[in-house]
Amino acid sequence: MAGVSQPELRHVGLNLTDEPREVREQVESDVFGFWVFLMSDAVMFACLFAVYATVRHATAGGPTAAQEFKFHSAFWETALLLTSSFAYGMVSISMKHTRGRLWIAVFMVLTFCLGAGFLKMETHDFITMFHDGATPERSGFFSCVFVLVGMHGFHVFSGMMWMIVMGLQLAIYGPDQRTKINLIRLGLFWHFLDVIWVVIFTVVYLQGLIR
């Protein structure tokens, strides 16, 4: 059975072949624990998607999805987020192949900026919708849009805060074991948010814009 006997060394971002068994096991359970958290988070998003599907037409005479969703901004938001994910991949590679703090820092700043760009566009969308009277108080449909998309945005924001914390830890401790584990977890988190976004742009934005 999978589990204790064979520690897993697959994580891009960490070279553990030379470490003692306890360290490897520690890393393994730390990262696996984070996976479990992510899956629990995925169920949370799944519930929101289910609710969204049931209130899709509950616009209560107010603005509709087709009127409020912007095709182009949804596309560019997606592009920004995907690119930021790729940039974080470069952080992981720099860490695994010990390219030093500089490269890690450069790519992390890049990821952060792309994430910030995504959030800026999303906020702009929200503000436009507010101006049109498509507020969360207006209808069950927009309550759900704002909570679902906002929840994802909040996750992105948390991820960015986490990047700042990790940047400080890198500056202080360098890539030691704890920092590395947390950078791996942050990577999982960031890539996971992409997966959620794929569902959001498909189910929320594109579905709303299908004519």
């Binding site: 059975m1 589990g3 204790v4 006997s5 096991e25 393994e28 359970s29 730390d30 696996f32 624990g33 479990v36 958290f37 899956m39 629990s40 988070d41 169920v43 949370m44 519930c47 929101l48 609710v51 049931t54 209130v55 509950a58 616009t59 209560a60 107010g62 969360p136 108080e137 207006r138 209808s139 069950g140 449909f141 309550s143 759900c144 704002f146 909570v147 914390v165 400080l168 830890q169 202080i172 401790y173 030691d176 704890r178 947390n182």
Partner: protein
Amino acid sequence: MTFWHILLGRLTWTSIAFVRTWRDPTISGIIGGGAAAVAVGGAVVVLALLTYLRAWRYLWTEWMTSLDHKKIGIMYMVVAGVMLTRALIEAVVMRTQQAIAINNQGIVAPAHFAELFTTHGTIMIFFVGMPLLIGLMNYVMPLQIGARDVAFPYMNSISLWLTIGGGIMLMASLVIGKFSTGGWSGYPPYTELAFNGGVGPDYWIWSVSLSSLGALMTGINFAVTVYKLRAPGMTWMRLPLFTWTTLCTSILMIFAVPPLTIATLLLAADRYLGMHFFTNDLGGNMMNFVNLFWLFGHPEVYILILPPFGVYSEVVSAYSSKELYGYTSLVIATMAIAILSFTVWLHHFFTMGQSAPINAFFGIATMLIGIPTGVKIYDWIWTMFWGEVRLNTAMLFSIGFMVTFVIGGMSGIILATPPVDYMVHNTLFLIAHFHNMLIPGMLFGVIAGYYYWFPKAFGFRLSETWGRRAFYCWFFGFYLAFMPLYVMGLGGVARRSQELFDPALRPWTLIAEFGALLLLTGLACIFIQLYVSIRERHSTRVPVGDPWDARGLEWSMSAPPPEYNFATIPQVSRRDAFYWRKKYDGAYQPADHYRDIELPKNSMCGILVGMGLTACFFGFVWHIWWLAFLGFAIALGTAITRSFMRDVKRIIPAEEVAAHDRRWLDRAAAARPISRHLELTPENEGLAKWQG
């Protein structure tokens, strides 16, 4: 915005229970004020006592900041004990009300009665059932799999303090403000702002959120522990059954809590931000809440039932001195129940109006769960068959469970038939049914496990006499309290009724009242048992650590265990590892060499995060925004600061481990092995004689 409004939010003089009682000195008001007085008085007495005994430093360094899974487990049980006492007293008040209030107002007003059944349910599920089981799992599971601690000890401490925070909020609601009147399930639209503008539903939302957050973290923690920290050789099919049920329960917590989080979060969004998820107008749909709530609620039932199934498996096997019958079938049954529990949630709202085929599907899925459960009952019976059964307290509770649980299961099958459910839904029949599952299924199991593992945790046995008295009270109390409810429910009496109108019901309500009092006596017996056992501890010590001639790894070290659990991590070669070691004289042997052991240092971060979030949520309830912000900042700041700490482990030197182990082995060598029929006598020092 006045200064006071910013400082205190919605809090006013009339929020205080005593002021309300002063202005409204009816019986109902006095009962409410009395409860508040007990809460405040209890807190004051405890604090004063701790100060008088100068126990603060000890409590802080040894317990509150401890990351040791064993101590955290014990703290969970203590908290649950306090909450259980409150919720059981509330139950007695409710039964008294229904016994008196036949064509009169009785002793508690309708709103007060609604508060009582809401807090009773919320507490029993979130602050009694879950903490009791999490406590037990925390203590026992790492010992059973040969681990030094859980995978994330710091997160374990956060979980504990979040749960305690939720408990504190429930206690605070007795004194400041009022709790929800919307039942433990808090259905909107009744709990929406339009119908319930007060703090009640907010208290419910945020206290449940604290508990569910804690449970989610515990689930992650335990699942990873079982997955990754098993001793070498402890393969899946060698895991003790209790560990299996712990794993399944953890999986249920991981996947079932998120729907609840979403349900409460969206309700909060409605109440705080004016959104329309579950409102009557503007596209809200309250069915979504009901659906989400039971997506959580049904697996929750199995979160509460599965660990006791594990306890019964251990207890029945140990006190029958037999290998567990049908181990594989028990594992499969446990997994089957865990998966099936995600496919039956709709049976909680058969009457909400979906098409008949959907009801039929969920009805059949519900009945299917009866099959693996039946398998388990047969396995336990066959385990006892021709075994050397000792009918002590734990076994009495186990057998009492088997008989009673089967009856409850039968009524469950009845309720799972949609047309019948249409007749009896929302009646006392349902109340009788789920108490019939949860009291034997959960509480009896916890008591049996408490009796079974107590000597391991504290080094002395519990009083048998008081244990038996407790059993008789719980067992007969249960039947007297709930069988009349089946009768009344079939007669059509609605649940949550503050007043009844048919004098013919009086005999039944009186019997139920007597049963409730008997149950309260049963709880008193449990506390007396603890007191008596502590007083008599010198004659019941079992320092060698194996008082029941049991089979799992948790019995292979001293009682109480050292903080690092195992001097050397055991190598497991088959199921019931300790039993086989005893057989082949491998037990009580020194290790070849001892190594330094690394353990987590104590940390006050857990308590800071937990109490910070509690303050934050309390601020949300009362709209005290500065407090909410401050509490959140404390919690977040602590979590971030902690991530910068590198010096979080301490080393226990090999010599110290070796010395402790040697002392224990000497003690074992000096002890006289006793046979099983002497295990309840003072002769029992925790060393069992080999009897095959």
